[in-house]
Amino acid sequence: MHLVNKLSSSGSSRPFPVPSREPSSVEKIVEIDEHIGCAMSGLIADACTLVEHARVETQNHRFSYGEPMTVESTTQALCDLALRFGEGDEESMANTDFLLNNCASRLWFPLVCCGLRKGMGVSRPFGVSLLIAGHDENGPSLYYMDPSGTFWQCGAKAIGSGSEGADSSLQEQYGKDLTLQETETIPLSILKQVMEEKVTPNNVDIAKVSPNYHLYSPSEAEAVIARL
């Protein structure tokens, strides 16, 4: 499970090619809104809860304000969820009532998803790190979020099992003035270094946000792999 993300494109690998496993069922890069994508590493089920929450938040924002949500605000909305675990010590329902009545139920649905109903708490943190990449009025941006709920803005980042090596390779190769082609091949070549098996269109996912989210089809991925 290696994930490498550079401003505007990201690559992730699928784990251990077990012959009986269907590779296309492993989805580690997903769309949050048409201008924001997300790559995940860790407990994928937890990541799906977070992604669902982000999707709801971004659509609520579009409904309320008629505009796309900025990438930083989306990341912040996810980080707001991270520390809400423990036994029944959630924020009081009085707070959520104000939000309920005035923000058109924007928080209620995801809170219920997380089991945060009166008296019932989530028992553990989300065991997942996310890379949130998107394009808004401030240009393209990339944010890294960890289970503590802290987020950093990055130009390039790697997460997952090979991330230490990948991160240091990224440091060397990243620059703010890379072309789109380079941001495609650099993460993929770093993935190649840290992956045990050979890189093929079936065991990596590549996606870009420029300015809309797009997950590469196998043939497009093939084209990038050929350039390595």
Binding site: F63, Y65, E67, T70, A104, E137
Partner: protein
């Protein structure tokens, strides 16, 4: 047994008229300053124009208690937005928020007839006009309130763009310059004053005009007919 009828109404009508006109790089928002109830004047000096954001001004006529509550609600929401997103709300975003806020009370409406005026993210003037339950439209000019039926036909005559059914879609902002637009608004109110008792300005009643452009905001007052 006949059905019991209410012997009071939660609403009152405080009169007044609001107008807004959008230009290429400015927006003019105007409203009279009279507040009345029935045939009585409550005050001659009441502002119906409220600043919601740096580039969004709301002018509302109708029931001023509901108008004030609506203004407070929107101001609070704007503050929350600034805290969460680290920026001011754009006028189109405020327009959507106002629409949602009004519709939220679809079954006990805010008795407020609104015109939202401001500059969009590119600095172009924009005007949004509403009904009491949040149906809204981006337009080049609009008026609401007791004098609207007198002012709107005049504005249509002076400012109406070619039919919106023509393609390509033409923007409705007026090509008039800022001083010309202000003059037009003053003329419109002077006419409405002649015939609408709720929009008259007697000794002291005024017309309040807010002009928003790239340099910022300024507020002018003009005396209307004194009777």
């Amino acid at each position: 047994m006949t059905k019991q009828q209410a012997n009071w109404s939660p609403y009152d009508f405080n009169g007044g008229t609001c107008v807004a006109v959008a230009g290429a790089d400015y927006c003019v928002i105007a409203a009279d300053t009279r507040m009345s109830t029935g045939y009585n004047i409550l005050t001659r000096d009441y502002s119906k124009i409220c600043k919601l954001a740096d580039k969004s001004f709301l002018a509302s006529s109708g029931f001023q208690a509901d108008v004030r509550a609506l203004q407070k609600h929107l101001e609070a929401r704007h503050l929350i937005y600034q805290h969460q997103h680290n920026k001011q709300m754009s006028c189109p975003a405020m327009a959507q928020l106002l629409s949602n806020t009004l519709y939220y009370k679809r079954f006990f409406p805010y008795y407020a007839f609104n015109v939202l005026g401001g500059l969009d993210n590119e600095g172009k003037g924009c005007v949004f006009t509403y009904d009491a339950v949040g149906s809204y439209e981006k337009v080049g000019y609009s008026s609401q309130g007791s004098g609207a039926k007198l002012i709107m036909p005049f504005l249509d005559n002076q400012l109406k763009a070619p039919s919106p059914l023509l393609l390509p879609a033409r923007d409705a902002v007026t090509p008039l310059s800022e001083p010309e637009a202000i003059d037009l608004v003053k003329t419109a109110f002077a006419s409405a004053t002649e015939r609408d008792i709720y929009t008259v300005s007697v000794n002291g009643d005024k017309l309040e005009i807010v002009v928003l452009n790239s340099e910022g905001m300024r507020r002018e007052y003009m005396d209307l007919r004194k009777d």
